[in-house]
């Protein structure tokens, strides 16, 4: 929020929305590992939304689905088909993990668009846990399923022999950059969008540019709605792609 600062001008604090603070007690209190914070609250809300949609919404188990059951079934079918298409039949058993990540990111992103809310997925601590979690899981699955032949992922057998060592170096680097890009992409997209909205909201205090600013806010909000969905989708599909590499490392 922008507010007249002590010196009289406008001051923007676009990053204040990302501050983690205890939900109960003193706002400036210490944040320990188990402290219930605004991050806890909004993550829990995402979990509650999942329960509402996927447990309450499908309660009737109707042959002809209600609206909420229809949405749940659509989400299920969408992600299930994506996992099956990208990773193949043997990747389907990892579907619940990918669906969990997808739903958490989707609901966190969507809930973060509520004014005054907190966006857990804008934090690198959150996205990095997921990104590196996927990275380690996929690497372990790759070695367990394929043994040492998993390393053939880095040996591009379709390339000319001379290029293969060079390509192997590039492949290894890109493999280790994956978790970083995977997590920074999500956190960056959400952070940037929310910061931009805050900056525009700050400008709305200036009467002269307020109409333009508010129009831009609406447009950016629509864009952010799109980004919220797309980022969840991108995170899930990249997880599927990495999983496919682990299950079928041979080019």
């Amino acid at each position: 929020m922008a507010e007249p600062s002590e010196t009289g001008g406008l001051s923007f604090h676009p990053m204040d929305q990302f501050i983690v603070k205890p939900l109960f007690g003193d706002a400036g209190g210490a944040v320990g590992m188990l402290t219930i914070t605004n991050a806890t609250f909004w993550m829990a809300l995402a979990a509650v939304c999942v329960v509402l949609l996927f447990v309450m919404g499908t309660r009737s188990r109707a042959m002809i689905p209600s609206r909420s059951q229809s949405i749940a079934e659509l989400a299920y079918g969408f992600v299930y088909k994506m996992v099956e298409d990208v990773t193949g039949k043997d990747g389907v058993k990892y579907f619940p993990y990918i669906f969990t990540l997808f739903l958490f990111i989707l609901f966190s992103n969507m809930l973060a668009l509520i004014p005054m809310s907190f966006s857990p997925t804008s934090h690198i601590a959150v996205t990095a846990v997921m990104g590196f979690g996927v990275f380690f899981a996929v690497t372990i699955i790759g070695f367990v399923k394929n043994g040492a032949s998993f390393l053939s992922l880095f040996w591009v057998s379709s390339a000319p022999l001379i290029l293969r060592p060079i390509l192997a170096v590039i492949e290894v680097i890109s493999y280790f950059v994956r978790p970083v890009s995977h997590s920074v992409r999500l956190a960056g997209a959400i952070t940037a969008g929310h910061a931009v909205m805050k900056v525009f909201a700050g400008f709305a205090a200036v009467t002269l540019v307020a109409p333009f600013t508010i129009g831009a806010m609406v447009a950016i909000y629509a864009l952010e709605l799109l980004v919220a969905g797309i980022q969840a989708y991108v995170f899930a599909i990249l997880t599927c792609v990495y999983l496919k590499d682990a299950l079928h490392p041979h080019h």
Partner: protein, 182 residues
């Protein structure tokens, strides 16, 4: 937000409660977020695997099962309808053949009766004709006999009238010759 915060618990927030730098990079908050993230993911995962996914999977399987069952039932009914039509056509053809057979038999029976009646009538007619012919022959014979008798009598009378003595044998021979001659 600008109210007085006597002490800041974190290096990431200044004394006015505003963020210092990027809150995302504040190490003081990492553990808290990671802990609650893992709790949230575990809760979502458990809810999905224990309740939601089996339920949705069952509903989807049941639905596709129902749809394929209904399609199979529709196909079966279609086949039954075709069978019924075939049976109907066959029954119709049989009934037609039966009707033809019955009418043929009836016609044959009538014809036989008719033939018998005609034969009987012919027979009767033949009998009557024979009888009539016999009668006619008798009548003719009688007539011939009568003519001969009359001729004999007359001849005898004429002979007597002319004064002769009728020779009965000569008269009979002469009359018989003449009667036969006609």
């Amino acid at each position: 937000m600008a109210d007085v915060v006597t002490e800041t618990a974190s290096a990431c927030v200044n004394e006015l409660g505003h963020a210092v730098g990027m809150p995302q990079l504040c190490g003081d908050w990492f553990l808290n977020q990671i802990f609650w993230l893992l709790v949230t993911l575990a809760v979502i995962y458990l809810v999905l695997t224990k309740v939601a996914l089996p339920r949705i999977g069952a509903v989807l399987a049941e639905r596709s099962g129902t749809i394929s069952n209904d399609l199979a039932a529709a196909e079966d009914l279609n086949r039954q309808a075709a069978e019924a039509e075939t049976a109907y056509n066959q029954a119709l053809a049989e009934a037609r053949a039966e009707a033809q057979r019955i009418s043929g038999e009836t016609r044959a029976a009538i014809k036989a009766d008719l033939d018998a009646a005609i034969a009987k009538a012919d027979e009767e007619i033949a009998a009557k004709t024979a009888e009539s012919e016999a009668q006619i022959a008798e009548i003719q014979a009688n007539a011939a006999t009568s003519v001969a008798q009359v001729a004999r009598d007359i001849a005898a009378d004429i002979v007597t009238a002319v004064g002769g003595t009728p020779d009965q044998a000569a008269i009979d021979a002469a009359v018989d010759t003449r009667v036969k001659g006609n």
